[in-house]
């Protein structure tokens, strides 16, 4: 990775999020974890000078989304006679040619089962599959690629932990701490586990601005807490949660932390060693990869002590008629033929993101989100849900009394794709006392021109529905 990309991450931390901290100097670059507690900000003088310098460099970074848009064939189409404006990236992102071609080429040239065949194709498939695992490990700075388990996505990753770890280590009367802003995928698996073993769920509430209430968190942490499972970025409010602060509070009490990284990993530089999380779940399809492939990262000692998740081929070492022994990690958790093409294409997506640089992506998306928030606020009738100081490119809103379904249908007529509904977070909707919201969510290929177009069409919608 070019050094200018690393420079960006330092500036990102200090220039944009003054509250970020936890710098570590590696390979003469600065990597950053997200951290949002102003009182914990501590930079020594030498570091401050460096940081000031990179701030200046960051200002001159000129990110050009049009340079990347041409890599995404899906974006080059008309919807109802208008150019497609794709603003539903929190649901899934579009795929660049590099990813699409990887899938095509795999099936054209290399298709074979992995870890079984001696023949040439089998060797190629296995090599590419394991290479993808290494790329993903490096992307989140996992100490070893053995800690990368391939799953179908974030949902399966969390279910895997609830089943293979939770059922073994959580028992009656134990407590699991979640937040009120979880996606159903980091809520329902724990409800199922709690019911099965007799554990209790406790919740960190969110405030009016869509940030977590740490006073309550402090209060509900107890000697019965066995796990803190939390989203690192809300798919409704866009809030980037102060993960380092959360892991530190949990670690002080020896409690493991699971992160639902479905929204954060695609948009922010992620370093599992700095974040110090024990489990991290994320999906390929929200970061340019195909659907049906995702990852569970976990610390080695957890993986070693977890039960198998599903039984079958690949996950075994030796099988007798009445018993079996388990394969090494990560294979112990990957029963059956995996999504080989999906994993390799996920690797291609990681390559693509690395070529741009995650800190560049974060910086640009911050700029785009600020621009969108400012432009959308021009409309008096708009209500935006959540205004956390640290937030990503997810904006949930309502426009006058236009129902989100009517609004998103109207916008679709103009070529704009947004999401309407409860965003798989019904408890949030209930707490806000709304049935649904409209949500616009961005990726690095979105442009300010698209935001302008959205705002124009929102104004038109007001005229159309309430003349």
């Amino acid at each position: 990775m070019a050094s200018e990309h690393d420079v960006g991450s330092g500036a990102f931390a200090v220039g944009i999020y003054l509250t970020f901290s936890e710098f570590s100097f590696k390979n003469e670059s600065i990597s950053v974890a997200f951290q949002a507690n102003p009182t914990e900000l501590c930079i020594c003088n030498k570091e401050r000078i460096i940081v000031e310098a990179i701030k200046e460099i960051a200002k001159s970074i000129d990110f050009d989304p049009y340079r990347y848009r041409k890599d995404f064939p899906v974006l080059e189409q008309m919807i109802h006679g208008m150019p497609l404006v794709y603003l539903d990236n929190a649901a899934t992102t579009q795929k660049p040619n590099a990813v699409i071609n990887t899938i095509v080429n795999y099936y054209k040239r290399d298709n074979a089962n992995v870890h079984r065949a001696i023949h040439q194709l089998g060797e190629r498939a296995t090599l590419a599959f394991e290479e993808a695992r290494k790329k993903i490990a490096a992307f989140i700075n996992a100490p070893s690629s053995r800690q990368i388990i391939f799953t179908r996505g974030t949902t399966e990753s969390i279910n895997l932990v609830a089943s293979a770890w939770g059922e073994k280590f959580i028992s009656e009367g134990d407590e699991i701490i979640l937040t009120e802003m979880e996606h159903h995928s980091n809520l329902v698996p724990w409800q199922l586990l709690a019911k099965k073993v007799g554990a209790k769920l406790k919740f960190i509430p969110f405030t009016e601005s869509g940030v977590l209430d740490f006073e309550v968190f402090e209060r509900i942490l107890s000697n019965r807490t066995r796990l803190v499972a939390i989203t690192s970025m809300s798919n409704v409010f866009g809030t980037i949660n102060p993960i380092k602060r959360i892991t530190r509070m949990a670690k002080d009490r020896g409690i493991p932390v699971l992160l639902d990284g479905a929204q954060s990993v695609p948009h922010l530089p992620t370093d599992v060693q700095i974040l110090d999380c024990d489990f991290l779940a994320f999906s390929g399809h929200k970061m340019l990869g195909p659907t049906g492939i995702g990852v569970l990262y976990a610390k080695i000692n957890y993986l070693e002590n977890m039960r198998p998740y599903q039984g079958g081929g690949e996950m075994i070492q030796s099988v007798w008629l009445e018993r079996s022994t388990w394969n090494e990690i990560p294979h112990k958790f990957e029963a059956g033929t995996p999504n080989i093409a999906g994993a390799i294409a996920f690797g291609a997506a990681i390559d693509y993101l690395n070529r741009i640089g995650m800190s560049q992506i974060t910086l640009y998306e911050q700029e785009l989100t600020t621009y969108a928030l400012n432009r959308m606020s021009e409309i008096d009738e708009i209500v935006i849900y959540g205004n956390a100081p640290e937030r990503g490119g997810v904006i949930s809103f309502n426009l006058g009394d236009i129902h989100p379904h009517d609004l998103s249908h109207f916008l679709d007529q103009q070529g704009i794709a947004v999401r309407a509904g409860h965003h798989c977070a019904q408890p949030i909707m209930r707490k806000l006392d709304i049935a649904a919201t409209t949500r616009a969510s961005f990726y690095f290929y979105n442009t300010k021109e698209e935001i302008d177009y959205l705002v124009d069409k929102l104004k038109e919608a007001l005229k159309f529905f309430s003349p």
Partner: protein
């Protein structure tokens, strides 16, 4: 914007959405049922006063999109005073019209105001919005369930 879209959201639908008819609850209801579309969060309660085999009065309340709310409003005006057997027939006809299985042009006289929902057939994803109030009404009348009705059958 497609003309189909303008046709769907014509003035009559927007009017009913802004000022729905028969909105509210009914104290002396003989039937009460909740209907919801869990996928989009649309949620209505329908109250009926049935005497013999006639729906004497109807009210509804709840939240939802313009299509579902105006459908409930138009439906409430349409069924008031009608016999249950008649309402059942209209329910079947309405479903077929919004699903695009029948040509509304051939049923204009019968449909009356309901014809404004014919445009829904151009947008399959919105069919459930238009039929939610009708499903709820149908289940309420026939007391199939005391539970909630959902569009996810």
């Amino acid at each position: 914007m497609d003309s189909e879209f303008r046709e769907l959201y014509q003035e009559i639908i927007l009017d009913h959405n802004r000022s729905p008819k028969n909105y509210g609850s009914l104290k002396d209801a003989t039937h009460r049922l909740e209907g919801q579309n869990p996928l989009c969060g649309d949620h209505y309660v329908i109250y009926l006063k049935v005497e013999g085999d006639v729906v004497k009065d109807i009210r509804f309340e709840g939240k939802g999109c313009a299509i579902s709310k105006s459908s409930a409003s138009v439906m409430s005006e349409f069924v008031k005073g009608k016999k249950i057997s008649e309402i059942d027939k209209y329910f079947e006809l309405f479903k077929k019209i919004v699903r695009g299985e029948l040509d509304p042009a051939e049923y204009m006289d019968k449909l009356g105001k309901l014809a404004v929902f014919a445009g829904v057939s151009e947008f399959p994803i919105r069919v459930k919005c238009a039929t939610l109030p009708w499903h709820t009404l149908h289940s309420a009348i026939h007391s199939k369930t005391k539970e909630k009705v959902t569009t996810e059958e």
